[in-house]
């Protein structure tokens, strides 16, 4: 029991540190694309500490207080359900019990809690962002479900651990090569999951200033930042497991998640933002059609 708690704590802290570092790299890369020097690599850690130690005197209701907890719980929940390193006996968490459907449910959990909290704040921009976010989430869940169907039909299992095991034996046995269209669809749905352009309609700077966290400050915001960092790492690990053969070692996991994280970082700065209906329509049709190609191929 103590081992499990220690393992969960280590995983969460490690994911937080890695997520914040990746965020720092993202800010630096974006600045270089703009032709700026950009912030320090450690800027996200400094921001998080400052927010954590700032005072707060805002109260908008119970859900407003609970939402950052939901967010962070959703992130840690997803992280614990996906296997981090294949065959690792030190950090096992709950990867033995997690199948893909449970993970997909948990991915909704944090976002829904966040939506309720933002709604409780009563700020019009937060409510607009929540309605946008939930519409977009429903649409990319459709295409992501199509991707899950391809993997389940192709590999004959819903267990992530068995999916990772089925991809061992060389790069060509990765799902990215066995199901290239489904992988492309998965990577497209990864962009709205990471709130990257052109799907950044939820936070939407300069439009609905910051979206759901408009009324959040101080410690609440620091918990949200942490939740976002952990959730980001959880999604990276999930995608590495689903499409890129999982990770055989800790350095392998870090390299693969880093490279995958760079995909939205380089796509994001060169696109403008979709309108909500454009985003929903695109996510309904394009990735779903891509996944359908592989589904037909698998079923035939």
């Amino acid at each position: 029991m103590i081992g499990l708690i220690a393992s969960i704590a280590l995983t969460s802290i490690g994911a937080l540190a890695w997520g914040l570092l990746l965020g720092g790299v993202s800010r630096m890369v974006t600045a270089r694309i703009h032709g700026r020097i950009g912030p320090r690599l450690t800027q996200n850690y400094i921001d998080l500490w400052k927010l954590f130690r700032k005072k707060s005197s805002i109260h908008h209701g119970t859900m407003f207080w609970l939402a950052p907890m939901f967010r962070i719980t959703g992130g840690i929940g997803v992280l614990l359900l996906v296997p981090l390193v294949a065959g690792n006996s030190l950090i096992v968490n709950m990867s033995f019990a997690g199948d893909l459907l449970l993970v997909v449910y948990f991915m909704f959990f944090g976002c829904l809690g966040m939506a309720l909290g933002a709604g409780d704040s009563g700020h019009p921009y937060a409510v607009i962002a929540v309605s946008r976010g939930l519409s977009q989430m429903s649409s990319y869940e459709l295409s992501f479900s199509a991707v899950v169907l391809v993997l389940a039909a192709g590999l004959g299992t819903l267990s992530i651990r068995e999916m990772v095991a089925a991809q061992q034996g060389g790069i060509l046995s990765w799902n990215a090569f066995r199901f290239p269209f489904a992988t492309a669809a998965g990577l497209i749905t990864f962009l709205p999951m990471q709130m990257a352009y052109p799907f950044s309609i939820v936070l939407a700077p300069q439009e609905i200033p910051i979206g759901p966290p408009t009324e959040y400050s101080s410690r609440f915001l620091s918990f949200m930042f942490s939740g976002r960092a952990i959730f980001g790492v959880a999604k990276l690990v999930l995608f590495v497991n689903l499409f890129f053969g999982g990770a055989g070692s800790w350095p392998g996991l870090l390299v693969k998640t880093f490279l995958l994280y760079m995909f939205p970082v380089f796509v994001s700065p060169v696109f403008p933002r979709f309108r909500t209906e454009q985003s929903v329509r695109f996510l309904w049709f394009v990735p779903t059609a891509l996944a359908a190609v592989d589904l037909v191929r698998v079923l035939i």
Partner: protein
């Protein structure tokens, strides 16, 4: 919703983590994106690759709830003062004010205007003044570095001064705002 109770006086002892906090606060200044006067035009270049304020950890926030710094960018009309008070009091402690331009110091070229404030310090606690009409972006960055030094030294305590001398500030604010309808304190 807001709280009417004035917060308790913080413990003044300087502990180790207070120094760590001050370092973090100085290197992560988030600014309320609110231009009160013509000086706001000089803030825009700070985002660009020529001046790039993000390299100092300075970023714009679209909501006062998340901001640490309020910039009074130039002349402040009485009508705007009411909104500025509202914004400043919605910001969470610790918070700082940078005042740009001559207008905030002595009224500048609007010194005899019927609706422009002459001495900003009587209405809100200013931590750093940046002189000029208008100060160039380099001068604003210099003002930011002065604020960072003051925060690191623990001297940027305008927010405490405001809280402890609220009656003085309220009296001055109410003396110029004829249609006062703000709550007594909007923390």
């Amino acid at each position: 919703m807001y709280c009417n109770r004035i917060p308790d006086r913080p413990d003044e002892r300087k502990r180790i983590w207070d120094r760590v906090d001050d370092m973090a606060r100085a290197n992560s200044l988030w600014v309320t994106a609110y231009g009160t006067g013509c000086g706001a035009i000089e803030l825009r270049p700070l985002h660009t690759s020529r001046f790039d304020m993000e390299r100092f950890g300075i970023a714009m926030r679209p909501t006062p709830r998340q901001a640490d710094v309020l910039i009074i960018s130039g002349y402040l009309a009485v009508k705007t003062l009411k909104r500025v008070i509202r914004v400043y009091e919605q910001m969470q402690d610790p918070k700082y004010i940078i005042a740009l331009g001559s207008c905030t110091i002595n009224g500048g070229m609007y010194f005899d205007s019927y609706n422009t404030l002459n001495i900003l310090d009587r209405y809100l606690p200013v931590d750093v003044y940046v002189n000029g009409c208008m100060p160039r972006p380099e001068a604003i960055i210099d003002g930011f570095s002065l604020l960072m030094r003051k925060i690191k030294d623990g001297h940027a305590d305008g927010w405490k001064h405001y809280r402890e001398n609220l009656d003085f500030y309220r009296e001055n604010q109410k003396s110029v705002i004829s249609d006062w309808d703000l709550p007594d304190y909007n923390w």
